[in-house]
Point group: C2
Chain length 281, copies 2
């Protein structure tokens, strides 16, 4: 089928690469307001050609909206307006509540499948895209009952080709869960990076001491602010809750540290070791 990718970054680009490889996409159109990214995506043969948005939409059987979540919420209604009656549209946003609300009363709501493939790296843009990004990863579809059976079946064909494991969840539940399991990790990493960059102003060469542990915890601080600022804004309520709990735990730890209560600190760490249960490696 003919596929349009709006937003030729890591996620949209990687989807395009795999959908072509798997024979699901026979023709790929790209839409990107960043001209350099658009040209790069053609050069890398991620898409066949760049088209004006409305032309691409009217010609496509399947549309992937893979742009920052604020832009997704703003653009989706007009995307649905522009597609033909058989076209299926998905988004890939890391927040779902606001996007779902923006689509609730759209006359073509049933042609839309709200989705969130939980995959990514700290890199962005078409050069970061690669085949296999989604393999074995979890994909969350929200409000499945608002999509038509045909739209859902088409979307699942795409998700299966990407080797995603699709599960279903309500938007609020989704946003709460990802606040803890993804968004909080990004905040902790950005601010850990900030803390150490700050101290570097006084302590030269401090990064000579950085080991692999530091690299691992701070890796996400390389992520794109353009992508993440809107996610944090849209998920401010749940992320705020998660942050409150995290800060509370840090303050408790600091109090125990001041009291030199190593036994209590040991106990907290032993409990946190339970994370082994949920991490594969």
């Amino acid at each position: 089928m003919k596929v349009t990718v709006i937003g030729l970054g890591l996620i949209g680009g990687s989807m395009a690469i795999t959908l072509r490889k798997e024979g699901v996409a026979t023709e790929l159109f790209g839409v990107d307001r960043n001209e350099a990214n658009a040209a790069k995506a053609v050069e890398l043969q991620i898409v066949d050609k760049i088209l004006p948005e409305n032309e691409a939409l009217s010609k496509s059987d399947f549309v992937i909206v893979s742009i920052p979540v604020n832009a997704t919420a703003a653009l989706l209604p007009s995307v649905l307006d522009a597609v033909s009656d058989h076209t299926v549209v998905i988004d890939v946003g890391s927040t779902k509540n606001l996007i779902s609300k923006a689509m609730t009363n759209h006359p073509k709501r049933m042609q839309f499948v709200a989705s969130h493939p939980i995959a990514g790296t700290e890199y962005s843009g078409p050069t970061a895209a690669f085949h296999g990004l989604f393999e074995g990863k979890t994909n969350i579809v929200c409000e499945r009952e608002k999509s038509s059976e045909r739209a859902l079946a088409t979307a699942l064909k795409v998700f299966d080709a990407l080797k995603l494991n699709t599960i279903y969840m309500e938007p609020q539940e989704h946003d709460k869960h990802v606040a803890y399991i993804s968004h909080l990790s990004h905040v902790s990493s950005f601010l850990l990076g900030q803390t150490v960059l700050d101290i570097e102003k006084d302590e030269k060469n401090i990064f000579d001491l950085a080991g692999s542990g530091f690299a691992s915890t701070v890796r996400l601080a390389k992520s794109s602010p353009d992508m993440w600022a809107p996610i944090f804004e849209q998920n401010a309520e749940y992320l705020g809750q998660a942050l409150t709990e995290y800060i509370m735990h840090l303050q408790k730890f600091q109090y125990l540290l001041m009291k030199k209560d190593s036994q209590a600190i040991h106990k907290i760490m032993t409990q946190a070791n339970d994370i082994k249960r949920v991490l594969k490696n």
Copy 2:
């Protein structure tokens, strides 16, 4: 030369493996109060035999003390007491101030080289040990002027065989730097793990959503509490400072989140992106 390793864990075990491979250690004696670890280290041929501490020390040219930092500070004086006059002793502790103080007035202080190879994984024990752990990593030697030229030269021969890059630093400076660049990462990771494990009690299956970003930031929460509780205790002052700054940044972020000031949040993330400069991958 004949080498004794006190503490047959990840660090001591990995040193033994490489020193044998490089021909630096011709005979390796192990000392470990954990009998299972001791037996495992012999089984894995990490050391040739387990000996009582004093026997091992009296027979050795080189001694590696690789046990938790509280035990290191307590044990080092008696280790120096027991070795012959030509024997060189190193420790590998992640804090240096207290250990240095414990050794200041020891009559054999010049036979001791205080060191901290910044290497490790989240795993522990002799089964976690491997050749190559130290390759290209930074090693910090403190108070080099308190070691004899001969002791320093012998230790450097060992560090070079391990392919460590050795630099020199005062104990206070060392402890401050590692508080920010290593210890804080571990605290942030342990408490991120705790936060998400806590919420799991209410939100079942939340870990189905965990992606590689979460895994990366929380990896260090698998680390050994026996090793880390004494490090945090010994470095409570500097770690407390680092934690204070980190918490301050998190609270500022939370305030901006509540204000929906995405522009300010974007700016913080853009600044944190500067971490790319110091991370190789």
